[in-house]
Symmetry: C2
Subunit: 326 residues, 2 copies
């Protein structure tokens, strides 16, 4: 397998934690990694890893579109070019999410027939495989046909990443009845309920689902527009953070709570985004993994693992086939 | 104060838990209550509470609009009429949410100048006053001007219910920059940022907020359309339920975890909807409290308490004044 292009400059903890994660990924996963970034920033960290020089860094809060247009020698743009040029099998970044999407879209291009790429994010489910939520923020306005394609791509992704043979796809709404929701939801419901909408993707449409179903094992793929998906994702992240802070605060000062804390840590690990390998931009011509901004070295290892697994599974070819048939 | 009209037939645990809550509310709060419902169903439960006879019950899953139109002698419609007719100070129901809204809207009518009523739901914040989220589901499609009015009404509500002198109002979006979000968000942002938009309501617009801000003390009122608001609310409810189940599962089998469970129960109480007194339909000509479907007797007591407090505070008059000036 070709090496994974890793944006060494992206993320709150770059380049230190990113490069540390790269070393661990090479050792633990046996995968090749090309660090992309400023050679002088990486000189002391790189060890025997290969560095592809990129002189610019797109800041976490920079405007995505204009940054990608003007910073042609940025680590993000160069990472995407390595995939485009057949020099890397996948790209991974914990940097500016919008700029990561724009780099991948502009340099790798879309899979033929894909209207819009979507961000597919795993939502943790205790004791079960995660629920794939898409679009989690790439397109704040969507058309019904795009959502149907998100459903097809999300189903393929759920199968390749989590081994779900016949993924159950739900449409995010505010009631289970098909009469509930926005015009977008109602039109999309009609399209998804048509006999052949998800047949090519080997998936099953189970109708509308609600926000409360996201963290349950009742659904495998949840489709929505990027505005609603991003709100749901961040609402859940905020809720988890608030409750984790409150719990560890309540138990922190408690004598003899070590066993209880010990029993809760595995639960925390189940929802910790560092352990989920990041989100994927589905619909571009290559594997593009978006790790969260505060990624640790462990998050990088897991993101690289997911990238490797999806490259080896031939995900992009499967997506291409399903979109072509859909 | 006039008695509170309590829909004795609404909710998963009606009429038993509802009437039990009514007795407790009378004893604990010293407020008068009129039970509204089928006399034969209430005969053995009512004790010395007054019953206003209503022969029909709108089912939890019935279609709201047609039910309210055809079931003129339902407990929900009669409850709203008691408020309209000056026989009750407020109505409280744990029944069908859509039918509760429709009953209140059709029988009480809107406050003059209100474009659309909105559901205002308190989101718990550990160690702080709740964040008011509106619209939490009344209007799945909204116009920017409606959201400005929601902001005004939500601010008045935050002041009267939680004593927040100058409520901070945020607009739910997918990024803090005003360039982020849907067309609805961008237009609403412009309107809310205008100098006098929230001056009459004594509130301050703090710009866009994200889902992750809902459970923090950084914002008092969060405004959004009813589709997004309902998704956010249910996502949070589902997340809280998933994590509470996982935590009590992990600690349940653990020797010596009693102290830890004891330390966590107060946190659970902070997020338990039974303790929050329910949501309110803002913008109708009267106090209408919507308690959740699985309301216990405690939830009923808290809903009646909120109804009493808001009647005594003259909330509807304050809303009327702000809407007239806005």
């Amino acid at each position: 397998m070709l090496p994974v292009a890793l944006d060494a400059m992206g993320g709150d903890n770059a380049p230190g934690a990113i490069v540390e994660g790269a070393h661990r990924a090479v050792a633990e996963l046996g995968v090749g990694i090309t660090l992309v970034g400023r050679p002088e920033a990486l000189a002391d960290l790189k060890g025997d890893l290969e560095v592809f020089a990129a002189s610019q860094v797109i800041a976490m809060d920079a405007d995505p579109a204009s940054s990608v247009r003007t910073m042609k020698d940025s680590s993000l743009v160069r990472s995407a070019e390595l995939v485009r040029d057949g020099a890397a099998s996948a790209m991974v970044s914990a940097g500016n999410t919008g700029a990561t999407m724009a780099s991948a879209l502009l340099r790798m291009g879309r899979i033929k027939g894909v209207a819009r790429p979507a961000i597919a994010t795993p939502i943790p489910v205790f004791g079960s495989t995660p629920t794939i939520l898409l679009d989690a923020g790439a397109n704040s306005e969507c058309q019904p046909q795009w959502l149907v394609q998100f459903a097809q791509m999300g189903a393929v992704y759920a199968r390749e990443r989590y081994g779900i043979v016949e993924p159950r796809v739900g449409l995010l709404s505010i009631g289970e009845e098909k009469s509930k929701g926005s015009p977008l939801v109602k039109e999309t419901h009609e399209l998804l309920a048509a006999d052949n909408a998800l047949a090519g993707a080997g998936a099953k449409f189970i109708g509308n689902v609600e926000g409360r179903d996201l963290m349950t094992p009742e659904v495998d793929v949840v489709v929505t527009d990027g505005f609603t998906g991003n709100v749901a994702l961040k609402t859940l992240e905020g809720g988890m953070k608030a409750i984790a802070t409150a719990i560890f605060g309540a138990l922190g000062g408690l004598e003899g709570a070590d066993d209880a804390v010990g029993a809760l840590l595995p639960l925390y690990a189940e929802v910790d985004p560092d352990n989920h390998g990041g989100a994927m931009l589905l619909g571009v011509n290559g594997v593009c993994i978006i790790s969260h901004g505060s990624s640790s070295a462990t998050a990088v290892v897991n993101a690289v693992r997911v990238a490797r697994d999806l490259v080896e599974a031939g995900l992009v070819d499967h997506l291409r086939a399903v979109v072509a048939s859909g």
